[in-house]
Symmetry: C2
Subunit: 220 residues, 2 copies
Amino acid sequence: MSDEYEIDKRNKVRQLCDKAKYDRETVHRILDACMIAHVAFVQDDQPIVVPMICVRDGESVYLHGARKARVIKLLEKNDQVCLNATLVDGLVLARSAFNSSMQYRSVTLFGTPTLLESEKDKLHAMRCISEHLMPGRWNELRAPLEKEIKMTGVIEVPIARASAKVSAGPPKDEPEDYDIPIWAGVLPLTQTLGTIVSDDQLLPGVQPSPIVLAMQNRKL
Amino acid sequence: MSDEYEIDKRNKVRQLCDKAKYDRETVHRILDACMIAHVAFVQDDQPIVVPMICVRDGESVYLHGARKARVIKLLEKNDQVCLNATLVDGLVLARSAFNSSMQYRSVTLFGTPTLLESEKDKLHAMRCISEHLMPGRWNELRAPLEKEIKMTGVIEVPIARASAKVSAGPPKDEPEDYDIPIWAGVLPLTQTLGTIVSDDQLLPGVQPSPIVLAMQNRKL
C-alpha cells in the first residue's frame, strides 16, 4: 500500500496548496485527534451536512446513529459521502485583515458508505467509537444488549480518497507591512477536558475509576 | 418577524426531537459562539463539505475565501447551501455505551448563497468576519487594499430555514442501569484561548495592544 492517498479531482487541494498533505500518516493523525466529523450527502439533489462522531479503524472510518435515523438511511443509500474533520489551533493575527488567518488541521475524505450488518462487525465498530472518545471505558460499562445493537446503525466508510490541510506558524504579511508598528503573532486555541461532574443518581460510595480519572488529563 | 424559523422538510429535526429548537435567539447564540461552520454543496451530483469561517449578521451569515477558490465559485452557482456549526461541550459518561453521548450545541441552516458584488457590501462583511474572530482588531490593522477586496470572494447566505439541537445535562440511563455500581457523569470539554505568541519579526518596542491582550481572556 502506498504511503500516500491517490490524488484525483475530488481530493486535490486547489487553494493554499503548500498546506496540502496526502500522506496516510498525517490524515490518520488528524482523524484520530478529532471527536466529530461533518458528513455531507445529497438528498433530493440538495446538500445536507450533519455532525457525527467519527472514528478511524485502519483505512476506514465508522459513523453511527439510530438505525432508523434519516442520516443512516441516507448514508446506506448514497454511493458517495464526503466528510471533513477540522481542529482549529489558533488565530493568526497578521498586520492586515487580508493576511490574518487561522492555524488548523483539517482532513477531507471521500468514500462509499456501507451499512454494517453482522452483529460482530457492529460490536467491533461500536467498541472503536466508545474507546475513541472514552479510552478504557468499554470494559467497565454494562455490556451492550442485543436490542441496542439492533437499534444502532453503523456505517463504514473505507477511505477511498483523502487530503489534509495543515496551517501552522506565524503570520505571513506583505513585505512592506513588516514596517508597520503593530503587534502581530498567534493566539493559540485549545480544546481542554475539564473536571468530571458526578451524576447525582450514583449509588452510595461509587467513585470514578482510574480510567475515568485519567480521561480528565487526556491531551487532545 | 416571527421569533421562530419556519419548519419544513429541510430543517425539521427527526431524531432526539426533545433537543430541537427553532427560535431565532438560540440559533443566533450558537452561531455567534462558533468560529467555523461546515458548508455543504453539490458538485457534479456529489456532496462536498468544506470548513469555513462563518459569522452571523442579522438574519444572514457571511462566508469568504479567495475570489477564485472553487468553494466560492460553486457557492455562487449553487442555489442551495446547507451549513452546520457545532460546539462539543462535554462527554456524557453513562452506565452503558448505548446511553453514553455528548453535550453539544449545534445549528443547521439552509439558504440561497449570493456573491457580494459591491465594495461597500464586501467591506462590511469582511469587517464583520474580522470582528467576530478578533474583536476590536479591525481598526488597528492596516486598512484593506482595493486589490485585496477584489481578490476576496464573500458569500452571503440569508437564513431561510434553521434548526438548533442542544444537548446538556447528565446521562439518561435505562431505569434498571441505575442499580449498577459504576460511576457516571459528565466530562466537560471547553475551547480555551491561550497566551499570545509574538511574531519574531515585530518592529523593536512594539507591544500587544489592550485589544490583543483582551482577546486572550475571551470566554468562548
